[in-house]
Amino acid sequence: MSSSTTLAEALANCQAEAALEMVRSQLAAGTPASQIVAECNRGMSLLGERFAKGECFIPELMFGGMIMKQVLAELGPHLAQEQQGPSVGKAVIGTVQHDVHDIGKDILIMMLRGVGFEVVDLGVDVPPEKFVEAVRQHQPQVVGMSILLTTCFKSVASTVEALRAAGLRDQVKIMLGGAAASEMLRENTGCDFYGKTAVDGMKYACQLVGATA
């Protein structure tokens, strides 16, 4: 590995040991933890770009996520003492009710955080009212629903309906992704956007808030 590799590049290329070493040496040199996190996020964003170009796939994203988790664990105590920078936008993301799959959702969240979004992760099997509550509380620009199972088509429709009934539908854009999602499902459930991949979802969210993907 060339000595000119940056921390962001090490993350983008899934070089776990190199990335962690650099984090430690930057901390020792007095770099603020928030600055290190920002660079790591850039690395995750680069990793997302590699994924979008087909240069790497989900195992790399997962492994990158694991490295990021370790980095954050190292930085944890330092981060708590620092002020966080502003986010480019807010997103509320969850897997729809009765569906417990999380991989697609987690990838999207990783990518959104990578480009500077503040993400509220509602987890899996999220009932419509929980989406409503989160939108009311956090006022995101975008809601993302992940769906893996065709049995859960109804959950997408009922979430959109619940947001509408709560008078929140016009305040947010709703995007849809996951193996069971499609343009036809989007159209039939009244969502705003269907993303075939997490990268599509991330780009759509960026476009909504005028951020760079």
Partner: protein, 483 residues
């Protein structure tokens, strides 16, 4: 193609034979009289028969009945005897922890789902690869089962009443369940002349590692941190997965073994990762099965466009490739010359489209994939409760009317090319040194407990011992594969 279709025979045995010939001919790349219809209908059958998903998941007799109702009412050539395969009874009998069950954690009208624990609580820990690879059957029984089954006590800890009962309840109920499949197949044949779509089960070694052992996320990390261990585990699992598939296969060799492809395709694995980790052992198993005359149905869940070139390496007719989200045109181009294709009718179209749209799509699929035979009509993904009934009817009617061939060229399945090989043939493979495929307590070990000189026929004693032993082997591997 012609559009005049003969109605099915009224004599059920004759109808069964007609359908079997049609189904088998298509799978062997021949041209039957009609495009066979073999829908993978799961929760749809419950909806149709007026049951909740909970009812068919808990009570397999209801699941069987629901499948029979569909088979009787729709002109389908083949169905899976029970596509809602996971049976909650067994899950409860041994306390399996990796399920979310309708009526328990899930609403009564939602299909069961697998739960993947957090990475640090994976059913198999990252440092246990050597244990697994050395003796897969022993590992499953001693380490894995106590973790996934609430009632099973880990090896070396004091046994409990619940532990002992779990093996009685698990073993006897699994047998009862599998035996019920035999009855169901007979009833399908007698009542509606319907052919069972599959016989036996197979999963790719890497999928088993991801789905039931390490978890997909944990496995992703392993691909980077301990790739050689992952490879060794795939090698060690392969002969056992082959054995399970072979022992459940159709003795007549008419029906394929069902292979549920899961996380091997892009983007779950890169092509390089697929080539290195996923493909070599899956290819080996498929070829070994084919050597015994056993076809494998590759149910390609998701989009396998990036992997079709690999499948094309397999011997002609050795597989049937089922299209979920793969591109039908590309499947035809890459695989259509050598293998039968099935599926490709989008599930969202069945859920949201009109019968006319469904019919138009069916015609398109038949023209594209079934012009000269070698195509089976089905939806893309397994049909749960999303399709509209009128759309399933439209798929059936259109295929029957439009999918008729003028000059059929039926194919007879040749007898198995050689006597089906027993697990002993794989003794020299990795993962077989301590316990060969099909064995839990090998005869050699048991033999030591008998007097050196036996008064009667030792081979008879051995054969019966090994038959009994194989049942225990089936138990642990079927818990892993089917439940």
């Amino acid at each position: 193609m012609s559009t005049s279709s003969q109605p099915p025979s009224t004599d059920m045995e004759q109808r069964y034979q007609e359908r079997l010939r049609r189904y088998v001919t298509a799978m062997r790349k021949g041209k039957p009289d009609k495009v066979p219809i073999r829908p993978f209908v799961a929760e749809f059958t419950a909806m149709y028969a007026g049951y909740t998903v909970q009812e068919v998941t808990q009570d397999y007799e209801k699941a069987f009945e629901a499948a029979r109702r569909c088979a009787a009412d729709f002109d389908w050539d083949a169905v899976v005897p029970n596509m809602v395969y996971g049976w909650a009874g067994l899950v409860q009998a041994i306390g399996l922890r990796y399920y979310a069950t309708p009526g328990v954690e899930l609403p009564p009208d939602t299909g069961f789902q697998y739960l993947e624990p957090p990475e640090d609580q994976a059913w198999m820990r990252a440092d246990e690869y050597d244990l697994l690879s050395e003796d897969p059957t022993g590992y499953l029984m001693n380490v894995w089962l106590p973790r996934v089954a609430a009632d099973v006590v880990p090896l070396g800890q004091p046994s409990t009443f619940r532990n002992n009962m779990s093996f009685l309840k698990g073993g006897m109920n699994m047998l009862a369940y599998f035996m019920a499949f035999g009855t169901q197949n007979q009833l399908l044949r007698q009542k509606s002349g319907t052919v069972p779509a599959l016989s036996g089960i197979l999963k790719a070694p890497l999928d088993i590692l991801a789905d039931k052992l390490r978890g997909y996320k944990g496995l992703c990390t392993d691909l980077f941190l301990r790739p050689q261990k992952v490879l060794a585990a795939c090698e060690a699992l392969a002969p056992h997965l082959w054995e399970v598939a072979r022992s459940g296969a159709d003795p007549q060799r008419n029906l394929p073994v069902g292979l549920w492809l899961h996380r091997g395709c892009v983007p779950f694995l890169s092509r390089q990762q697929f080539e290195k980790f996923y493909w070599p052992t899956l290819k080996w198993i498929t070829e070994e099965l084919w050597r015994d005359g056993i076809q494998t149905l590759y149910y390609g869940e998701g989009d396998w466009d990036g992997n079709l070139d690999y499948f094309a390496q397999l011997p002609e007719q050795s597989i049937v490739f089922h299209i979920d989200r793969s591109t039908p045109e590309l499947c035809r181009e890459k695989l259509g010359e050598k293998f039968c294709l099935s599926g490709g009718l989008p599930n969202d179209l069945l859920a949201f489209g009109s019968p006319e749209e469904v019919k138009a799509y069916c015609k398109k699929l038949i023209d594209l994939l079934g012009r000269d035979g070698g195509y089976i009509m089905d939806a893309s993904a397994i049909m749960q409760n999303e399709p509209k009934l009128e759309n399933v009817r439209a798929m059936t009617e259109c295929t029957r009317q439009y999918g008729v061939y003028d000059q059929p060229e039926f194919v007879e399945v040749p007898p198995p090319p050689r006597a089906a090989s027993a697990g002993t043939a794989k003794e020299d493979r990795p993962g077989c040194r301590i316990r060969r495929p099909g064995a839990v307590i090998p005869w050699e070990e048991k033999r030591k407990e008998f007097p050196e000189k036996l008064t009667g026929d030792e081979q008879l004693i051995r054969r019966v011992w090994e038959q009994c032993d194989a049942m225990a082997y089936t138990y642990i591997w079927q818990v892993l594969l089917s439940f």
